[in-house]
Every structure is written in structure tokens, then in C-alpha cells.
């Protein structure tokens, strides 16, 4: 079994690595790049929702903060991509810590709404802060990254995001099987019991949230230099909901789930372009169907979604005493 798994993974990676050569079609390569971007976004959100059991509805904002940070540094200060890319992550992480510290003490559902509000505020601020962000005009002409003096071609972008997605998935895999990941999941499963194991709830929640934001910020920075034009409406509430949908559809709390969800939700609309206006109707219907039939998502860890309401209520009443 282990061996078979190894072979499958190796084969899969080989296919991914040779993809632009097997399918030398820039359109398909672009779809693959978008898949990569959303796989990373969904995986990062999964750290918060799937592992730690907190709801965030503002993930698009952190993605946007990363994109704007990197783009503005590149456009205004002409810093190279290799500097602005990590800074996009750092900036998103900073905002993550800020929002986290302010809101993570709230009960789950309220965290969701606060992040929703924060996301909208971010979007509107980007739109109104003309002098910095050029407001509704957006930021065109973001430079193409160079690699040893060579400008990225589309295939270059593909390999970058492939590598980055691989690293993120590897990181999340290791996290999942580490002390820190176990602490996240323990918090999701039972906060009271977790704190009795010596887990600093607030600290670990903040860590999960910050990690998630940092990864979203990084991929945002990549997106800015890939799309080369960004505007506030690309990072609004719709984006947050789309990422959330990917996680929920693919499977919450598993490592593969968000990857699957992102792939399905990026590839499906492309495949069904011929359905024209029915495309989105079907999309909505499928979303309802999957959640009703399999609340944890296609390959989700059951625990996240199938926890009976009573258990949550019980926990809530305990928390009340705790504070």
C-alpha cells in the first residue's frame, strides 16, 4: 500500500512537471496556473477552517493585501519580485496577526462575521485610498518577474506556482503530522480538553490564522505579478466566498480536499463554457447538492462538519464560564 502510494505520488508529480510539454497549450497551462493559485488559497484557508475549526469569511482580503503590497513595491520602488514576493506574505501575516488578536477571542461564528466585515473594509479602503492604490483605476503594468536576468514566460510561471503549491502542500502535510498541527486539530475537536493538554488556545489560534494569511499573501503576490493588473474587485467578498466554497466542497480538514475543491471549481466552469448562462446555475445546484449529501465535502474529515450541534452548544456553555 505504502509503496503503491509512493509510485502514484511520483507518477503524479512527473505528470505535473512535464505538463507544459505534454499539453503545450497556453490556455490549458493558464488554467493549471489558476488551479495552483486557488489550491494554495484553499489549502491555506483550510488551516483555519479545517484544522483549527474557526470560520473565516475574509480570506480574499489577505490575498489582496499580499497582491497589493507586492505590486506597489514593484511599481513604486522597483524592487525585484524576489523581494516583494515574501514581503507580500509578511504584510498579509501582519494584518492576520492584527485581526487575529482582535477577534480570535470571539466565538466561532462571530469570527466569521468579523473577518467578513474586515474583508469588505479592506476592499473599500483600497478603492478609496487613491494616492496609494490608485483606487478604482487598479494597478496595471506590474512587472514580470525575472529569474537570473530572464523574464518569466508562461511556463516559468507554471513551474513557479507548481513548486510553490508543492511546498505549501508539503508544509501543510508536515504541519498536520506535527505537534503544532495536532494542537490545531485538538482545538477544533475540543477546546477545553485541548487547553488541559497545555495548549495555549489563543496562541495557537493566532498562529493558525497568521500562517493561513501569510500563505494567502504570498500567493497574492504571485498573482499580482502573474496577472500584471490588479484591482480591488478581484479580492472582494466574492473571492472569499469562492475560496471557502472550494474548501467546503473538496473536503474540510483533509489535505487533499481543498486541492480537489480548487481543481474542480476552476476546471469545471472552464469545461462547461458551452453551457453559457446555465453554467452558474448548475454551479449553485452542485454546491447545494454536495453539502447536503456529504456535509464534510467530497473527501473531508468527517469531524469538522459532522459534529452534532449539541456538542457545540455544550462547548459554548463551558466557554462562557471560562472567560
Amino acid at each position: 500500500m505504502k509503496k503503491l502510494q509512493k509510485v502514484a505520488i511520483t507518477l503524479g508529480i512527473l505528470i505535473l512537471v512535464s505538463f507544459p510539454y505534454i499539453v503545450p497549450n497556453p490556455y490549458l497551462v493558464r488554467v493549471a496556473i489558476m488551479c495552483g493559485i486557488y489550491m494554495v488559497l484553499a489549502s491555506s484557508l483550510n488551516i483555519v477552517i479545517g484544522f483549527t475549526g474557526m470560520f473565516s469569511l475574509g480570506h480574499g482580503a489577505f490575498y489582496g493585501i499580499g497582491a497589493y503590497t507586492s505590486a506597489l513595491l514593484a511599481l513604486n520602488l522597483h524592487w525585484p519580485f524576489w523581494v516583494t514576493f515574501p514581503l507580500g506574505g509578511v504584510m498579509a501575516a501582519l494584518f492576520g496577526v492584527l485581526i487575529g488578536v482582535a477577534t480570535l477571542r470571539l466565538r466561532q461564528i462571530f469570527l466569521a462575521f468579523t473577518t467578513l466585515g474586515f474583508g469588505e473594509i479592506t476592499r473599500i479602503l483600497i478603492l478609496n485610498w487613491d494616492s496609494l492604490t490608485r483606487g478604482p483605476m487598479g494597478l496595471p503594468g506590474i512587472p514580470i518577474p525575472t529569474f537570473f536576468g530572464m523574464r518569466f514566460s508562461q511556463v516559468g510561471y507554471y513551474y513557479f506556482i507548481l513548486l510553490f503549491t508543492g511546498l505549501v502542500v508539503l508544509f501543510i502535510y508536515r504541519l498536520y503530522h506535527s505537534r503544532i498541527g495536532r494542537a490545531f486539530i485538538a482545538i477544533r475537536e475540543d477546546e477545553v480538553a485541548a487547553s488541559h493538554m497545555g495548549i495555549h488556545l489563543f496562541g495557537y489560534k493566532t498562529l493558525a490564522f497568521t500562517l493561513s494569511c501569510a500563505i494567502a499573501g504570498l500567493v497574492g503576490a504571485f498573482y499580482a505579478h502573474f496577472a500584471r493588473f490588479i484591482s480591488a474587485d478581484q479580492f472582494g467578498g466574492n473571492e472569499s466566498f469562492a475560496i471557502l466554497t472550494m474548501v467546503a466542497l473538496g473536503g474540510t480538514g483533509s489535505i487533499i480536499g481543498p486541492l480537489l475543491g480548487a481543481a474542480v471549481l476552476i476546471i469545471f466552469p472552464e469545461m462547461f463554457r458551452f453551457l453559457a448562462q446555465f453554467r452558474m446555475v448548475i454551479y449553485g445546484a452542485i454546491l447545494i447538492f454536495v453539502i447536503v449529501v456529504k456535509p464534510g465535502g467530497i473527501v473531508g474529515v468527517r469531524g469538522v462538519f459532522e459534529k452534532p450541534v449539541q456538542a457545540i452548544r455544550a462547548k459554548r456553555s463551558h466557554q462562557k464560564g471560562g472567560h
Binding site: D190, A193, H196
Partner: protein
């Protein structure tokens, strides 16, 4: 003094759940707290582990005041516990449940995790070994990959103890560990708790199974309506009039 409670008081609304309770636990002993249902025993435990904040009084552990510390800090001082209504991590495997218990012993950093450093691997190995050892002791090693929620009730109790032990506590609070166990299992538990004592772990125990309590407890404190009404060895308690009255009086209601 190893563990002390000084005039600890906890009220909920108008109800006094714990009323100026003093408690001394000697190191290396098994100390049982008994009392009728609703006497405030679990609240007492909750005050100790910081789940509830005591309204008055203080709690000292190894000479240090831990009254107002948050739960995870109290756990870090070396106090482990199990819960009356089992609180496992239902969708984690049996082994992972115990691994979470080792949280405090494991100084892995995020950096170690990301790079899978040799330190990370060494520490993970140690954790794995420790946890497997504990599962062997509790007889759960064969079920290590099952979800905790799928274990039968008795084994869930055992797993909770194993998880608490994984943090190598100095003081272990057991909240009704024998609840729902059959006599054979209870006898097993009796041996197991004794073996813990032999390893030097101090045990504070809430239990309704009087046979078990009388058999293993070095000291017994009796609580009724939040007030400590008696304390002493098994034989002293058995002959204490107030205790009998409390129990019988309760029954008459």
C-alpha cells in the same frame, strides 16, 4: 506542601458550589474526594485546572500560587486531568489523542516542522515511543489507528487517562474514572492507579465507586453542598457520622 487549597469558594448565581474548601494533598498519595451528586466535586476540579475561576481563596501547587493562571499554564505546571463526561478528541486517532497529550514535553518549533529537521524527527520519534508505551500499558495499542469516538466507553476512559499521563503530570486529577466500568474493569483500574502511585504520581480522585475508593485512597475528603464535612483515612470516614448522615439524608430525598 505539595498541593493546597485555601478557602476556595465558587458560586454560580446564588448557588454556592464550593464553599471555603481547604484541601491538602500529600505528595505520592492517592487522595479521594467523595460526596453525593451535585456536591461540587467537579467544580472543585474545574477550579484547580483553571476552567473555572475561583471567586475567593487560593490554590497552591508546589508552593506556587496557581489560582489565577490560565488552564494551559496550570497544565504546564504538571497537573493533568480526565473528565467526568469523557472529552477526547473524537475525530483524532487513538494514537494522536495521546500525542496531543505530549504537547508540553515537545519543544518542536514551526521552523523544525517546516524543514522536517533532524530535531523534529528525533522529537517525533520520542513522542511516538512514549505514546505507544502508554497505549501498551492501557491495552489500547492495537486500536491506535481508530478514531477515538469509535472506542467502547471503557476504553475511552482508559484512553483519557493515557492522554493525561502523556504529559508526565506530577498531579493527576481523575474525575470518576470508574464510571460505567464493570467490576472486572474496575479491578483493573484499581491496579493501574496503584501502579501510577508507585511511579510517584500523586493522584486526586473523584469517585462514586466506594469499593474502589476505600481500597486505594490514602486520604478521603467528603464534600456535601460545597462544604468539606470530613477528612481522613478510609476507616475514619466509614465511621464518621456526618458522612453517613449526608449520604443517607441524600438518599431519603
Amino acid at each position: 506542601m505539595f498541593f493546597q487549597m485555601r478557602k476556595v469558594r465558587k458560586t454560580f448565581g446564588g448557588l454556592v458550589a464550593v464553599n471555603d474548601v481547604d484541601l491538602d494533598v500529600q505528595q505520592g498519595t492517592i487522595h479521594a474526594v467523595i460526596g453525593p451528586n451535585g456536591a461540587g466535586k467537579t467544580t472543585l476540579f474545574n477550579c484547580i485546572t483553571g476552567l473555572r475561576r475561583a471567586d475567593a481563596g487560593e490554590i497552591l501547587f508546589e508552593g506556587e500560587n496557581i489560582t489565577d493562571l490560565p488552564t494551559h499554564r496550570i497544565a504546564a505546571k504538571g497537573i493533568g486531568r480526565t473528565f467526568q463526561n469523557i472529552r477526547l478528541f473524537p475525530y483524532l486517532s487513538v494514537l494522536d489523542n495521546v500525542k496531543v497529550g505530549t504537547h508540553l514535553l515537545n519543544p518542536t518549533t514551526l521552523w523544525d516542522t517546516a524543514l522536517k529537521s533532524s530535531r523534529f524527527r528525533k522529537l517525533e520519534k520520542e513522542v511516538e515511543d512514549l505514546c505507544m508505551e502508554l497505549l501498551h500499558q492501557t491495552g489500547l495499542s492495537e486500536k491506535k489507528d481508530q478514531y477515538a469516538r469509535n472506542l467502547p466507553y471503557g476504553e475511552q476512559r482508559k484512553l483519557e487517562i493515557a492522554r493525561a499521563l502523556a504529559s508526565k503530570p506530577k498531579l493527576l486529577l481523575l474525575d470518576e474514572p470508574a464510571a460505567g466500568m464493570n467490576p472486572a474493569e474496575t479491578a483493573e483500574l484499581d491496579d493501574f492507579i496503584r501502579s501510577l502511585k508507585a511511579k510517584g504520581i500523586t493522584i486526586l480522585l473523584i469517585e462514586h465507586d466506594m469499593k474502589l475508593v476505600m481500597s486505594i485512597a490514602d486520604t478521603i475528603s467528603v464534600i456535601d453542598y460545597g462544604v468539606k464535612i470530613a477528612e481522613g483515612s478510609a476507616s475514619e470516614i466509614q465511621s464518621n457520622e456526618r458522612v453517613i448522615e449526608a449520604y443517607l439524608g441524600k438518599r431519603r430525598n
